[in-house]
Symmetry: C2
Subunit: 233 residues, 2 copies
């Protein structure tokens, strides 16, 4: 049974952020190891006494000082037995989203102090290991989940103008959206509500009213075997 011992278990996180109509992915510069100096996904080995989730959360904190507000398991990469040139490693990849409040990266010369940086999804460099492939899969997951789960809200501020939501969908899905139909559809779902907050004005044009995602209402609907799907012409 000696063969069993030597498979190492890692976690990696694909963290998406959204700012100025652009989708970003969080990367860190590897400080040592076979890909020293190369950009990779934040992640690392799982410790004996921690759960997988704890491992990801810890790594995100250590490597980027970031707290995500959506996290789910994506896929476990372990079919290429040489994906790490040093030894056999399988990696459980996690898919995460941050909203603008958590977008800023902590400047931390203190702890692990690796460089962490946001990269536009259209501009991801060559990454270490099989991480480009992982990013691709995560991007795909984001696109499809967006159409049947309300995860877009985790990339926006708590209160947002409707146009932000429109833009997020059209940017991420890379499709044009009919503003009228989109608004009608989203509002018909019943879990996006106008707030009382005063309208905001961003420079020019008519001020926008603010909306928010009502999580409770969403879950209430869910338990009544409710299902939605957002598609466009």
């Amino acid at each position: 049974m000696t063969e069993i011992k030597d498979i190492k278990v890692a976690v990696d996180a694909i963290v998406f952020g959204y700012q100025q109509n652009t989708l970003f992915v969080l990367l860190v510069k590897q400080k040592f190891g076979p890909f020293k100096g190369i950009w990779v996904l934040p992640g690392g080995f799982v410790l004996q006494q921690e759960s997988l989730i704890e491992a990801v959360t810890r790594e995100l904190q250590e490597e980027a000082g970031i707290k995500v507000n959506y996290l789910e398991q994506l896929y476990t990469f372990g079919d290429n037995i040489n994906r790490d040139p040093r030894f056999r490693v399988i990696s459980v990849a996690y898919f995460a989203l941050v909203n603008p409040d958590n977008f800023a990266l902590a400047q931390q010369n203190d702890t692990d102090a690796e460089e962490a940086q946001w990269f536009a999804i259209s501009n991801i460099p060559q990454l270490g290991y099989d991480h480009n492939q992982i990013v691709k899969m995560a991007h795909q997951r984001l696109k499809s989940k967006l159409t049947y789960q309300p995860i877009g809200f985790d990339l926006l501020a708590t209160e947002f103008p409707f146009s932000d939501l429109e833009n997020l969908y059209s940017v991420i899905l890379e499709q044009e959206i009919d503003r009228r139909n989109f608004r009608k559809k989203i509002l018909s779902l019943g879990f996006v509500e106008e707030t009382n907050a005063p309208s905001i004005n961003n420079g020019s044009g008519r001020p926008a009213r603010l909306f928010k995602f009502n999580k409770d209402k969403y879950y209430a609907l869910l338990s009544n075997s409710f299902h939605f799907e957002i598609k466009f012409a």
Copy 2:
């Protein structure tokens, strides 16, 4: 880095089969270990030199002499650090389907010779480890995939009467189906075709024509960003 070494990696498979309007799951009786004599999912530790997929395939062969015709990764269980009472194990669970040709279990007194047996999904006993939870998740996955991917065909014979497909959907989704609407919808998708095979007669009633799933046609449609969703009233 000593903590890292001691996490063991296992794979488990949830294999579904379908016979006589009933959905079955394949279980094996544990021969040793902490759950000796208890039913569990087929699976075992991943060897140093094999991919995850190879590990599942091998275990299915060894423990049940079975070859599946659909296999995909389901989820990786590693948040309960005591899921195996002996040591820390994470398990990559796979979701598999067999069609009637592969349904029979090999009688194998030779190799690993564990007892393998099909259990109706409605009649799963208490399993070892966290395997009841895994089965539940797989069952959920099967239900939802059935509505947007043509995986039902992997549970049927290559050629099948239309009523088999109807029954499969209504049994697995636990819903009544309007036969006329179902047939119209499926045939409108364009990848289920009537064969030239002579009708078959099963005892009583009008003989049924046989249909088959045209994989090539399905993939051709897929690449044209085709999407389907099967829902019922």
